[in-house]
């Protein structure tokens, strides 16, 4: 492999791809939909669990593969619908999405024992669910997709989702969605049902996160409640912040960089991994509110002198700050 000099094998590269996919899901809903979800890990975990449970019940991998995308998307639609139709925003949205993950985390941790069985699958509580059927070639079930082929499979899916989202953003729906991010009231006054649009965006993000979870389940060959942990949700946010929300490539880059850093940190025991992640998040918020990728991209465009700067500067994202200002305004009423 070309990347072997970096000390990475395809096993690690696969998980970087999965992280990138998860980062992409949050980057999409946050950067383009203006929805900051503090519990994106919920849909990641739901995808992984949905795959594992379905795979044990069906004994085949491909129906579970699609279930692992559709189920989290549906849950995201229902939960998101509840939030958006209640017109919850900003901090309340953040709190409730966080609480949502925590409920799942706590619940999955106590599902040890005979009472918690879905079909043939035991939820297994703290220990999670091992031993399910992993992905294999549809035309030859004895040929499993693992190792190098799982990496190429994940990479192609990442590329596919990336291109799919890019196409979606260019479509009328995507443009409306960006319009909603820029000015919810105006979108509403144009006659768009903002609640519905945000719910749809949230569901798409949930589906992509579910796909990442499904691949993770295939990679790790076990699913545990830690997929729902606060730390996992925080990590996704760190990737997106480091890479820069408001672009699709930023979150992928952020996930790859931070995932690789985690991999390097895992090889030593002097400094705690979590400490570094935390420090990165604090510093990123304080020093790089727009993320790394937009900064690099700006420098690049300035160098090549292409006239894109005004556009990119404003469409690239400061929704956090901007939305907050808007919220303060509405508080005064």
């Amino acid at each position: 492999m070309a990347l072997l000099p970096l000390g990475v094998d395809t096993f690690t590269l696969t998980v970087l791809c999965i992280y990138a996919l998860l980062g992409l899901s949050l980057g999409f809903i946050w950067g383009f939909g203006g929805i900051l979800c503090f519990g994106q890990a919920a849909f990641f975990g739901l995808g992984a669990y949905a795959y594992a449970i379905a795979a044990i019940n069906f004994g085949t991998p491909w129906a579970p593969f699609f279930i692992a995308i559709i189920f989290p998307a549906l849950i995201a639609a229902v939960f998101g619908g509840m939030l958006f139709f209640g017109r919850l925003n900003d901090v309340y949205l953040a709190v409730l999405t966080l609480v949502f993950t925590l409920i799942l985390y706590k619940f999955m941790n106590v599902t040890a024992g005979e009472n918690y069985i879905i079909g043939k699958a035991r939820l297994g509580g703290y220990n999670g669910i091992p031993g399910f059927e992993t992905l294999s070639l549809p035309w030859d079930p004895s040929e499993y997709i693992y190792g190098d082929s799982l990496f190429y499979f994940s990479l192609s899916l990442l590329l596919l989702v990336f291109l799919g989202l890019r196409w979606l953003l260019k479509s009328p729906f995507g443009r409306v969605m960006i319009g909603v991010r820029e000015n919810e009231l105006r979108a509403e006054l144009m006659g768009y049902d903002v609640r519905l649009i945000k719910t749809a965006v949230f569901a798409i993000g949930g589906g992509v996160a579910g796909l990442a979870g499904c691949l993770y389940a295939n990679w790790a060959e076990i699913v545990t409640p830690n997929l729902f942990s606060l730390g996992q949700s925080a990590e996704v946010i760190i990737w997106v912040i480091v890479g820069g929300a408001g672009t699709l490539f930023g979150p992928i880059l952020g996930a790859a960089i931070m995932g690789y850093m985690k991999f390097l940190l895992g090889q030593q025991s002097l400094i705690d991994n979590t400490l570094v992640m935390g420090a990165v998040l604090v510093l990123a918020v304080l020093l790089l509110p727009r993320g790394i990728f937009p900064v690099i991209a700006d420098r690049f465009t300035r160098k090549t002198g292409r006239e894109r700067t005004t556009r990119s500067r404003s469409s690239r994202k400061r929704p956090t700050r901007k939305r907050h200002r808007r919220r303060e305004g509405s508080n005064e009423q």
Binding site: G179, E182, N183, L185, R186, L189, M190, G191, R311, S315
Partner: protein
């Protein structure tokens, strides 16, 4: 009640934490009318506007648009009745270009191709052609007002609500605004909330004066502007 009444407010009342912003307001609007709502700050004209636009839930009373009770409607449902709304502070999509802003408004009801046609037409009508590809965030306040007007027109509304359309415009732009408003009035009903008496004089036919949450007087523009009570209210002599 004649069929020509398109907007009717019945005993509309809005209270914020004990302050009465609107106090039993009754108001009727005929089709194809151009109605100006005026009054000093805090008179309730903007609150009335927001109730009609779905941006403010009245404490009591009813709002009826073409026989349909719209009280408690969300703004998007109000908009879907064919009502175009321009807010007081220009509400535009900052990170998007002028073209995209207007396109989004047109695209809600039209196909992409038709929407493109509508945008070109509006850019021409409002003389925004040169700015089409610019980010709205880079525009001056007056230009943003015009862009917002373009957004409103792109939805092809039969009823247009404008909240302080002349605020912050240069003399030149005011003139353009006056012309556009008159043009719109050829085919649509208009409600204009305004502060600027000079501007009112140029466009108004019927004027409703708000004062302390109530309708003080409702007459044609010349009667209103020569009314001593109205003058006192504006100059703050009364109460």
């Amino acid at each position: 009640m004649s069929n020509n009444i398109v907007v009717e407010a019945r005993d509309l009342t809005v209270r914020f934490d004990g302050v009465v912003a609107l106090d039993n307001v009754n108001l009727k609007l005929q089709r194809n009318e151009l109605r100006c709502l005026i009054g000093p700050n805090g008179a309730g004209k903007s609150t009335f506007f927001k109730c009609l636009a779905g941006m403010q839930l009245p404490t009591s009373g009813e709002m009826i648009v073409e026989g349909e009770a719209t009280t408690g409607y969300d703004p998007f449902r109000v908009a879907r009745l064919g009502i175009g709304i321009k807010t007081q502070v220009p509400s535009v999509m900052d990170g998007l270009s002028v073209h995209e802003n207007i396109w989004l408004a047109a695209r809600r009801t039209q196909s992409t191709r038709k929407a493109n046609g509508i945008v070109d037409d509006i850019l021409g009508r409002l003389k925004l052609g040169d700015l089409a590809r610019q980010d709205v965030s880079t525009l001056a306040h007056g230009q943003r007002q015009i862009v917002e007007l373009g957004i409103v027109l792109a939805g092809d509304p039969w009823l247009v609500l404008l909240d302080e359309p002349a605020a912050g415009l240069t003399g030149d732009e005011v003139e353009r605004m006056v012309n556009v408003i008159k043009e719109i009035n050829d085919y649509a009903t208009l409600i204009v909330v305004e502060h600027d008496m000079h501007f009112i004089r140029q466009i108004a036919k019927m004027v409703t004066v708000f004062h302390q949450g109530r309708v003080l007087i409702e007459e044609d523009v010349d009667t209103v502007l020569s009314d001593p009570i109205v003058r006192d209210v504006y100059l703050g002599k009364r109460r």
